[in-house]
């Protein structure tokens, strides 16, 4: 492949990730994903076959993984921080929607 080729990707909403793919994208092993799913720390789309992960799920999983590794954080604590970051983002979106600066 040369630098001039155009590459086409898939939006995760159209081709959601499997457990193995999510684990690799987070630099984790599949056991980490399964344990965090069972603990309700990670989110997923439940299908008949198996859990699938979209953009939002990937972002959350990477955030939790990064918090756990950087601060050696307890998974529940990392999940709470991720929840708070989500909430801040949600409020910022509402401010932007209202045409207000948020910085």
């Amino acid at each position: 492949m040369t630098d001039n080729d155009i590459v086409t990707g898939l939006v995760l909403e159209d081709a959601a990730l499997t457990i193995d793919e999510l684990a690799r994208a987070c630099g984790a092993d599949p056991g980490w994903v399964v344990a965090h799913l069972e603990a309700g720390i990670l989110t997923c789309v439940v299908t008949e076959a198996a859990p699938r992960f979209t953009s939002r799920d990937l972002q959350r999983a990477r955030r939790v993984r990064s918090l756990e590794r950087t601060f050696e954080a307890d998974p529940e604590l990392a999940a709470m921080v991720a929840d708070l970051i989500d909430e801040v983002e949600r409020l910022r979106t509402r401010l932007r929607r209202a045409g207000l600066a948020c910085d």
Partner: protein, 314 residues
């Protein structure tokens, strides 16, 4: 290649203990964490901090770094002597907060030897996935586009050492992509080891702020300036929207701030978003005799008190 002073990056002495290094790293990680920091270069700073910690938190890497970097200062031209790493054994693994592909050429040159697990004969593994952010315009999401992004790609030479080279990737942005979504480019991550498949590249899509439109999910919001009589009497007006000019009917008796919803005219998708037009009254200036006369006439004839209508005397 410029020498990187990892002690300086973490703000610790060369004699710092492992515990002091960890404390300094966590303090900086809190300060520059991209989810928290408002500094425009927070992501780059965080990467530098992760890289410094990856080097100094691993006793083997730290010992090697101390040996080869003796006498060097940050920014100084640097080339490691041949076979400088003889006697050390480390893999290219990233530190706690980062992945190896995120690190600099300096780090790759020093610690890129694929010793350890990565270099074992017969070991076959999937390449590492990479993550990057791509900024696009709202128009790109509405119509689709192709954008060039510069990537730093680790490559393995015949001796098993990792070097980083720059590569430009032209990426097709699919029509209908929304802010925050991830595009997965299969096989565009790190090469696999021992014949393993390459990793993938994930691009997190973010929109540039738009001067006229605001985006919320797949919905688009747009302020539309209107004259007082257009609000009061209603009627059809022409509005330039992201998808082209449309005729919109304003219901009589509308107030400023009223939102008109144009279904399905937001960002396209399986369930397309809507376009919201927020009507904003603009008063004509009373800067001529005629204009003042008209305002005075309204004040006399209408006997309108907005404070009373709002339930107070303000």
């Amino acid at each position: 290649m410029e020498f990187r002073d990892y002690y300086q990056v973490l703000g610790v002495e060369r004699s710092a203990s492992a515990d002091e290094i960890k404390r300094a790293y966590r303090k900086l990680a809190r300060k520059y964490h991209p989810d928290v920091s408002k500094a425009p270069d927070a992501e780059q700073r965080m990467q530098a901090v992760n890289e410094a910690y990856a080097a100094l938190s691993d006793p083997e890497k730290r010992a090697a770094y101390d040996q080869v970097g003796r006498g060097f200062h940050a920014g100084q031209e640097f080339r490691p002597p041949p076979d400088w790493d003889a006697g050390f054994e480390f893999s290219f693994g990233g530190g706690p907060g980062g992945q190896a592909g995120d690190f600099s050429d300096f780090f790759s040159t020093l610690f890129g030897g694929m010793g350890g697990a990565g270099g074992q004969r017969g070991f076959r593994t999937h390449g590492e996935d990479h993550h990057a952010k791509i900024m696009i315009d709202l128009e790109d999401a509405l119509h689709g586009a192709t954008r060039a992004i510069a990537l730093r790609v680790p490559t393995v030479d015949p001796r098993g050492h990792v070097a980083v080279r720059e590569r430009t990737l032209h990426v097709k942005i699919p029509r209908g992509v929304a802010d925050g979504q991830q595009i997965r480019l299969a096989g565009q991550g790190s090469p696999g080891l021992g014949g393993g498949p390459p990793g993938d590249l994930y691009l997190e899509v973010r929109f540039h702020p738009h001067p006229r439109f605001r985006v919320d999910g797949r919905d688009i919001l747009q302020s539309v300036p209107v004259a007082p009589w257009e609000l009061a009497l209603g009627g059809a007006i022409e509005v330039a929207t992201p998808g082209g000019t449309v005729q919109v009917k304003i219901p009589p008796g509308s107030q400023t701030g009223r939102k008109l919803r144009l279904k399905g005219r937001g960002i396209p998708g399986t369930t397309p978003g809507d376009l919201y037009l927020e009507l904003q009254v603009v008063l004509p200036p009373a800067d001529s005799d005629k204009a003042r006369e008209l305002y005075e006439s309204m004040a006399r004839e209408l006997a309108f008190d907005p404070r009373r209508a709002a339930g107070g005397r303000g």
